[in-house]
Symmetry: C2
Subunit: 185 residues, 2 copies
């Protein structure tokens, strides 16, 4: 019944990659409380303490997930696009990321340090682009980012009322269009 104490003969094969993937699943498939070190270990068929050889702790696990998901927002950026379109693209991709991972977003707000890294890159880029079309780039960057966050949270709260999420995404695009139109008339 009881397995041997040490490392099993054939490496069970838990690595950072498999841990992150399983963690994201566990986080999003429930009400956001499903991701625990113990549940994660169980899903991977391993002891909880085994995880601590690959991630420092629970908070750093969240940080790693944040880097992965929100990092994609900065990638896939097109060349030679007008500032207004850069801004639009960036915010839409950001909002989509929130929509695909609402529980991660929620979890990250409770662990602000997890967010600082990637968030800084996005907001800096946004400010630079806004400077081309408005005389108050910082003010409008805050407005647009805060609005994206708030709308993302509405998305997160709409979980459990399925089918509503796509509608909210469409609404975000509408709202963003109104804001951008008012920004630089």
């Amino acid at each position: 019944m009881s397995r041997p104490r040490g490392r099993p003969a054939q490496g069970a094969g838990v690595n950072r990659e498999s841990i992150l993937a399983a963690a994201l699943e566990l986080l999003e498939e429930g009400d956001g409380k499903g991701l625990s070190m113990r549940a994660l270990a169980a899903r991977l068929g391993v002891t909880p303490m085994s995880l601590y050889h690959h991630v420092q702790d629970h908070a750093s696990l969240l940080r790693a997930l944040s880097d992965r998901i929100y990092g994609e927002v900065m990638d896939g950026q097109e060349e030679g696009v007008a500032p207004l379109e850069v801004i639009r693209g960036l915010l839409c991709r950001y909002h989509d990321a929130v929509g695909r991972h609402p529980q991660l977003t929620l979890a990250i707000f409770s662990e602000p340090a997890a967010f600082a890294g990637v968030s800084r890159q996005i907001t800096d880029h946004l400010t630079a682009q806004l400077a081309a079309i408005t005389s108050e780039p910082v003010l409008w960057r805050d407005i647009l980012v805060d609005h994206a966050h708030g709308s993302g949270l509405a998305l997160a709260s709409a979980r459990g009322r399925p089918g509503e999420a796509p509608m909210l995404s469409e609404r975000y695009r509408q709202a963003l269009d109104r804001l951008l139109a008012r920004l630089a008339p």
Copy 2:
């Protein structure tokens, strides 16, 4: 050493009111993880299970706190004010409530049901007032509420970097002014 089993001779005097007050303290004085049924009971000098005679469970405790804090936003409403000023007042009071209780706001987003009650009142009132000054009241209600939420969360995240919160409140007022100015030109 061990106290008697049943109800103590002199009623220790835990009631719904004292529970809610202590819960709010516990929630806001730390990193948002300080409010647990067990810690709450300890602070009140009582057994955890005693609390369950006054509140149904942890989630309903959060719901009660939400009703109390966000309920104030609808109160204290002035008579005979122009729609634009009603909107401004409502959103500022709402944002202030978030600023005074950031951890509650954060906790509530993870417990969406806790928010539904009061939130509905505020958004309905807001929509009605917006109808007087714009042809797209629902769209702008969403923009303004989402923005207030996002800005409130920035406030919540700024906890731990003290002194920054008042600055962010001032920034919210600035942002709101720009939005309202653009709304009905």
